[in-house]
Symmetry: C2
Subunit: 156 residues, 2 copies
């Protein structure tokens, strides 16, 4: 890419961001309207619901790629709503194990159904060929991110 022919719309960070923003916002509109959930709250719920077993806040953050302050606030909100409970680890009292309540698990189930039908809608719009290519491409990006993270870790 020559300097004088730079096109923002061909720049990978820009393209990825635009696609991600659009796709995420459309789904966010659904769970915000139905449950008044914020994005960090939905992600925390999804992290806890997908494994089914208790997790610590740090694990939630790793699993869902969120900053720990976001997780902390989302956990407080979900606890307030009685969708999850905390329990102290007996061996290490810094840790707290987060677990969905019945109500939380129920909400997770409903949101999961919403997510699945959204993904199906995207599948249909994008088409099998595009979807396949996207999966391969995203996988390559994820590998690249992994490399960079390990490189950064070594340099620390």
């Amino acid at each position: 890419m020559a300097a004088d022919s730079f096109e923002l719309s061909a720049f990978l960070p820009y393209r990825l961001n635009r696609a991600a923003e659009f796709v995420a916002l459309r789904f966010a509109a659904q769970y915000k309207a139905r449950y008044q959930l914020t994005r960090p709250e939905w992600r925390t719920l999804a992290a806890l619901g997908s494994t089914g077993r208790p997790m610590t806040a740090t694990e939630v953050g790793t699993h869902s790629a969120m900053h720990k302050t976001k997780v902390s606030r989302a956990v407080a909100a979900l606890e307030e709503r009685r969708w999850l409970t905390r329990s102290e680890d007996e061996g290490d009292r810094r840790l707290e194990h987060l677990q969905l309540t019945k109500a939380g698990a129920g909400a997770y189930g409903e949101l999961t159904a919403l997510a699945a039908s959204y993904q199906a809608e995207l599948d249909a719009l994008i088409g099998p060929t595009g979807m396949q290519a996207l999966a391969v491409g995203l996988h390559a990006v994820e590998r690249a991110i992994g490399k960079l993270e390990r490189r950064a870790a070594r340099e620390t």
Copy 2:
């Protein structure tokens, strides 16, 4: 995707967002460190620089997919820095044409070089096969977004 096997990490909005966030943040770190530019400022600069001709704030917003208040604030900051000037449209006095100054164009050139070398770094990390797949996949997503936007426009 059955409801009981939902995995956040396989959900398209999540995967796209994670990839986009990571890739964008690494580049943002570069122009923030060197120029103290915010992301909306860099995008506005890139929009104006890439075409070379004057644009209105609305055009900048469309071109770079930013909310108009973001554009408004970015334009004010870039004007303060004397990287762009505004001129009123004579036919329609609601419009203002934005144009880079010499200094703005110079900065754009340097940032463009940074962007190009970042893109090259990503190319190398992701590899030609992954990059090709990603391009095809993103293109399919962009078409899908276009469809949805047109559908939404019709329903208005």
